[in-house]
Subunit: 133 residues, 2 copies
Amino acid sequence: MIISAKGKYALRVMIALAARKGGRPVPLKELAAEEEIPRKFLEQIMTELAKAGLVKSVRGKNGGFLLTRPPQTYTAAEILHVTETSLAAAECSGSGECPRADVCPTLPMWRALDEAMDELLKKYTLAELSSRG
Amino acid sequence: MIISAKGKYALRVMIALAARKGGRPVPLKELAAEEEIPRKFLEQIMTELAKAGLVKSVRGKNGGFLLTRPPQTYTAAEILHVTETSLAAAECSGSGECPRADVCPTLPMWRALDEAMDELLKKYTLAELSSRG
DNA sequence: TATAATTCCTATAATTTTGGTAGGATTAAG
DNA sequence: CTTAATCCTACCAAAATTATAGGAATTATA
């Protein structure tokens, strides 16, 4: 599978947050229960999302997590790039990664693949995704 | 990485075979040395490619492997689908896999992603790929 | 018919990645 | 001061990936 459980959990949680109107922080415990995601695993995921600035965390009692921006401004691409260790076709497809870049017959294909995936995943916003379930 | 070492090895070997004109079988040993792929690992890969009908194997002395068709008839998609355990976005993106298919907010996206990747990888034929290196 | 070069088959082992747990420190509301 | 929450660090188990090993079967050719 291209998309890991972690990535899917992240998306689900973000969708769940988007579905909640109102600025009240949603505690991890609640999100984990609601989405049936192992609590401690989700904790790690939320940390990553928070570090990347996709969510804001509020510590202490009555704390929890909040989206930092309106749902329509998030794309699936953005979210998945945070959690997936690599959404790229190959290690070498980043710019300047490979010394043999100019003779490698497959590099252009990997780059095109990266591009195509990214294009597609950018088409889906949290707002759209949360309006379906 | 989306594409495994195995998949990349497979592509490289297929490209190498495409580059050789002439119907003489190329022994595994030679392919492994030339492409710097672990011999025994490549053996497994060739078995898969042979079972899928992408190459023909010739046993015994002077044996080896051959493409079964002209290089321009193979696409990267075809080759990678043989070797990659799964090129799909999610377990669930196959048709009829998921009971919650009609309420899942992300399923359409996974399917679109599968489609986009496949489309792109179909654009690259062995003939084109082998003409670059 | 012996030998050498090859693929075929089956098993196993090493490494890396993924998915998940555990426990306590820190923060903040009431 | 208690309670409910995030933060931090470490660990662990299972699965997938990337090999490795050794011999059986097949074939050309001397």
